[in-house]
């Protein structure tokens, strides 16, 4: 008992087990800091490696010619596939988000959100196999099938992102519009969507960045091509960046490796700039809404 009583007049230096607790706290703090640094380091090492190995392959010719000297067909193919995927996923995603925040009751909204999260958690290879079975088996590979697979990947990202910004739109704007006798859908179009537009575009850009790098579904539904020419017909297999990187890395050809690194650099740069740009845009629209 006497040990528990502290003499109030004693010097204010660590005593007893406080020293041990101090050491323990320090160790935990270092561990957490180290883990955070490690995560940053992983990104740094990946980017560094891609830049060092890929920079030598980059040239104007590399970007505008077909195989064996360049990657233009893959760039055009990916741009087309992702564009069509986004054209499908964005309206659906935004409408789904509007449904959840503006029209659905609590329980239905909960189920909708859970569903979107589950789709988001689906391994992309599963989506690939599904689209393969649905659109490719017994037919032919096509850019269109690839676009639909990527649309499924983009949908939950856009819908959940849009939901978040729609919830940020102050409720008193909805009340103001209600009190003027304007139907809810008009309010959504005239007041709510314009306020949330910045955030919706942001989540779309993030979804595009994610879809541009998805490989697994495209391996199954759009991988049979030689990469020599730019193809614009979406009803046939189209060259695309991730699958082309995969093909070149598989071949026993040092020049192909260099090209694969070069393509990786192009892809990583696009994703990085798109993500950072989207975040900056998001921060701006948040500020605008709160002012």
């Amino acid at each position: 008992m006497s040990g528990a009583v502290v003499d109030p007049a004693a010097p204010l230096t660590p005593t007893g087990n406080l020293r041990r607790r101090r050491v323990f706290s320090r160790v935990a703090e270092f561990g957490a800091t180290g883990a955070a640094l490690f995560a940053v380091a992983v990104l740094g090492i990946v980017i560094y490696t891609v830049v060092v190995r890929g920079a030598s392959a980059l040239s104007f010719e590399f970007l505008v010619t077909g195989a064996p000297t360049g990657i233009a067909p893959a760039l055009v193919g990916t741009a087309l596939i992702v564009a069509v995927a986004t054209a499908i996923a964005m309206p659906l995603g935004v409408m789904a988000a509007i449904f959840v925040t503006e029209f659905a009751g609590n329980r239905v909204a909960g189920v909708s959100k859970l569903t979107l999260d589950l789709i988001n958690g689906l391994p992309s290879i599963i989506i690939g196999v599904f689209i393969f079975g649905l659109l490719v088996a017994n037919r032919t590979q096509s850019g269109f099938a690839g676009a639909i697979a990527l649309a499924i990947i983009e949908l939950p990202l856009i819908a959940r992102g849009a939901q978040e910004v729609l919830l940020l739109v102050p409720n008193n704007l909805r009340e103001a519009a209600d009190a003027l006798g304007v139907a809810r859908w008009r309010t959504v179009l005239g007041v709510i969507l314009p306020s949330a537009l910045g955030g919706i575009l942001t989540s779309t850009v993030l979804a595009v960045a994610r879809a541009a790098g998805e490989t697994a579904p495209l391996l199954l539904v759009s991988s049979v091509f030689d990469g020599k020419e730019v193809l614009l017909n979406m009803s046939e297999a189209m060259p695309n960046v991730p699958v082309r990187i995969f093909q070149l890395s598989e071949e026993a050809n040092p020049e192909g490796f260099a090209q694969a690194w070069g393509m990786s650099l192009v892809l990583v740069s696009f994703i990085l700039f798109a993500s950072l740009g989207a975040r900056a845009m998001h921060a701006r629209s948040r500020r605008k809404m709160s002012s």
């Binding site: 008193n172 704007l173 003027l180 304007v182």
Partner: protein, 291 residues
């Protein structure tokens, strides 16, 4: 104030009032007496889930007059005023018993559309809630959506003049409404309701977030709107009620039936409420002895 007869509680007055259908036939004479009722509320109780918020309120709100609802916080004033244009419908588990007649029509009948209700019965909220649009578009948005596109510029000007805001904003109609001061924003919200030619203006503590000068301008505005509109105002400020209102309803807590719920204690001409209240609770409140 133009009502004849000795100070009396409105229930007694109500006994001598003709029904609304009868009032329509000789409306002019009734209006002169200020007896023509826009709202005829009988025995209204409001529940949020199991909680009773408002208990058995009956009153008649006269046309083209200002009716003030006063009383301490939490006694159902806002609940009551929001029940007059069905703004509570969006509150989960909201339930209303009794009858609210608006020009003789049951506001809560199954064939009544709440959007149409709010188009005729406008509302201005405690916190100004302009849309993040230009001053012009704030006023023009609802008329545009309601198909009142003819001579929209004149409509906007008339509404802004009606809200005593025109001279302050006529040179910057394209500027954002968010740049206006709080008092100007609140008058802009009133202009929005005028622009759709609402019949009734419900004001839920419209000046409580404003400084005294802005408050004075709102009160002045209410005097100028009297006659064109039927106005119902919730206020915490008794001097404000005394200055602007023709009729005053005092709400208080009624603990007689178990769980305390807000209820109407006394309703009469403003002069009567402040000078010769019939109920001791009203007297205590208006003389500042409680609340």
């Amino acid at each position: 104030m133009s009502d004849p007869g000795a100070p009396s509680r409105v229930r007694i007055q109500n006994g001598s009032l003709p029904n609304p259908a009868g009032a329509a036939s000789n409306g002019a004479a009734r209006r002169e007496l200020g007896l023509d009722a826009v709202f005829d509320v009988s025995d209204v109780s409001v529940f949020y889930g199991a909680k009773k918020a408002l208990s058995s309120v009956s009153l008649r709100i006269p046309r083209s007059r200002i009716t003030a609802l006063i009383g301490p916080s939490g006694c159902g004033k806002s609940t009551f005023i929001r029940s007059l244009n069905r703004m509570n419908d969006s509150v989960p588990a909201f339930k209303l018993e009794g009858q609210v007649l608006y020009h003789g029509h049951d506001l809560y009948a199954s064939n009544v559309d709440e959007v149409e209700v709010r188009r005729r019965i406008g509302m201005v909220f405690q916190k100004p809630n302009p849309f993040p649009k230009s001053i012009y578009d704030n006023v023009a948005w609802a008329p545009r959506n309601l198909g009142l596109k003819h001579e929209l510029d004149e409509r906007v000007e008339q509404a802004l003049r009606g809200a005593a805001l025109w001279d302050e904003v006529k040179d910057r109609l394209k500027d954002s409404a968010l740049g206006l001061s709080g008092g100007q924003q609140q008058r802009l919200c009133i202009a929005r309701a005028i622009a759709i030619e609402a019949d009734v203006l419900l004001l839920d503590e419209p000046a409580s977030a404003l400084d005294p000068i802005a408050t004075a301008s709102i009160e002045e505005l209410m005097h100028s709107l009297k006659g064109r509109f039927t106005i119902v105002i919730v206020t915490h400020n008794m001097q404000q009620a005394a200055r602007v209102a023709d009729k005053t309803a005092f709400f208080g807590l009624d603990a007689s039936t178990g769980e305390p719920a807000g209820t109407l204690i006394e309703y009469a001409d403003t002069e009567t409420i402040f000078n010769q209240p019939a109920d001791p609770r009203t007297r205590d409140y208006v003389t500042g002895r409680f609340g």
